[in-house]
Symmetry: C2
Subunit: 310 residues, 2 copies
């Protein structure tokens, strides 16, 4: 199945853009803009404020200000899908409304994630409350299913109920369950050009596209954007499986380390800009032994980041 | 072991005060003030913005405003221990600073709870960052260990390291692990009049006081304050074990239902004020069958809430 060519929708490869911090741990808008430009040039959409952006280590005000900075700098909002899901629906509604007013293509929305064991009814009400409060017909919500981190899963029956109630606003999902059977079930159950399924990692990119999905939103696109986009664009070519294998080998290197510090360490190294390694607590940057091991492992898979930081 | 009579410290029984919402789901300051007064009259301290307060379903601005409202209404800040732990340390620092400026006895601080599997080093830095940024010598942080909800446990070695680095600011802990062995380990390892261990439930109140602990911070104090405070004040009397058994039977009733909706349903019923039953999503209020079952079960244990809502 091939998706309808609705070019107003954001599809393909997106990156939860890592957020640079300065030595005082403040978000660094200038470096973020530079990194976003580098990603855009390679065809990667901007899922700023994702899990790998340390979004939940930033305040609402910091996120609002950063988003303003990106748009003011001329980055195209129709290539942005900011994460807006907070614990409190009031925060989620505020950030979502702001993103839509700026013209973003959509928003990636975590469920409220503090309370555990909540019912589908409660999660339905959470999303419904935000949709009603934002009250914007342009609203496109991409649900964010990431049970290993949120510990608040989004069931297929919840998605179905949301789609029925809000067929315009519920525009798709990012499946970061890490479970291909779950992604496949979503692809099979929600076959609509109005509902886009994104894999949560490029490891499932080829399978997702073959199953009628829209692409992937993946941390690794921060460091390996070109090859991931190439597969997304040429997945029907004979070398697609070989491309997927090559993507997996790079991913495998990063997975040997804590992902976010490793992504930032790679950007710091290849752009020769050490401040990029900074993370906010509760994360911890790689130590020098880890950095050396990462660099060595990346050399072994012929990894490079042409043009990063320029 | 009996704690030194440092009357400047908040001890005994505290309640994570449930937060009333109006029909538009806005925090209802007036009803909150009334409920806080009722709790104070019975000797219960105000751990506003705890888990059972739905604190993480409220924005930073909403919490700041509510705290201001309580203090402006004349409620005594030295009887308050607001919860201030957010996902972002910038938010945690802001709310903590505000609470200390208002003269609160201390703050109850969750670790950042979005990212899972974080290291003790990362958690240490999270607390250190807040302490350094608040920079207030009056600061008293009560660590909040609630792994069933936060999924971010606080290890004994982390506590020890924090206590060594910040002996003044780290004032105690609330142990909501539900694991008495863990509470006992804390009581044994951190025997200092400057570090108060609170049980996370009145089910462990007697054991905690016998072990040298400071009291308990418990959801049930919202509905059963008198008897819980009586045990805290008379735990050395011969009938203490019988008192504990009676507390447990009331607690057992509430535990048959989702706790927060059940607490609010009880307040709504006994104060004849139905709006009290309102919860914010992702929580869902009890349905009528659950409400009836709760009321029947409470009658069977001779439960009452004298004076609530007056």
């Amino acid at each position: 199945m091939v998706k309808s060519p609705d070019t107003s929708r954001i599809r393909g490869v997106l990156s939860p853009v890592v957020t640079p911090f300065d030595s005082e741990l403040r978000p660094d808008g200038e470096r973020l803009i530079r990194h976003c430009r580098w990603l855009l040039e390679q065809g990667v959409g901007l899922a700023v404020f994702g899990t790998n952006s340390e979004a939940n280590s930033m305040s609402l005000a910091e996120k609002r200000a950063l988003l303003d900075e990106l748009v003011t700098a001329g980055l195209p909002p129709h290539r942005m899908m900011p994460g807006t899901g907070c614990c409190a629906f009031t925060d989620t509604a505020e950030l979502t409304r702001h993103a839509m007013q700026l013209g973003c293509a959509g928003v990636l929305m975590l469920p409220p994630f503090y309370y555990k064991g909540v019912s589908d009814e409660g999660l339905f009400r959470s999303y419904a409350e935000v949709i009603e409060r934002v009250g914007d017909s342009r609203l496109r919500i991409y649900l964010y299913h990431i049970p290993p981190v949120s510990h608040v899963p989004l069931s297929l029956s919840l998605i179905e109920r949301l789609l029925k109630a809000y067929p315009g606003a519920i525009a798709g999902i990012k499946d970061s369950s890490g479970d291909w059977n779950n992604t496949r079930a979503m692809l099979e159950q929600f076959q609509s050009p109005q509902f886009d399924v994104f894999a949560g990692s490029e490891a499932f990119l080829l399978a997702t596209l073959r199953g009628g999905g829209a692409g992937c939103i993946t941390a690794a696109a921060n460091v390996n954007p070109g090859p991931i986009v190439r597969l997304a664009r040429s997945w029907q070519q004979p070398d697609a499986d070989a491309q997927q294998v090559a993507l997996n080998s790079v991913r495998g290197v990063f997975q040997q380390f804590p992902m976010i510090p490793a992504l930032k360490a790679a950007i710091a190294h290849y752009s020769d800009d050490p401040i990029w390694a900074t993370v906010r607590p509760p994360l911890v940057e790689l130590d020098s032994a880890q950095r050396n091991a990462l660099q060595q492992a990346l050399r072994s898979v012929d990894f490079s980041m042409p043009g990063v930081g320029a």
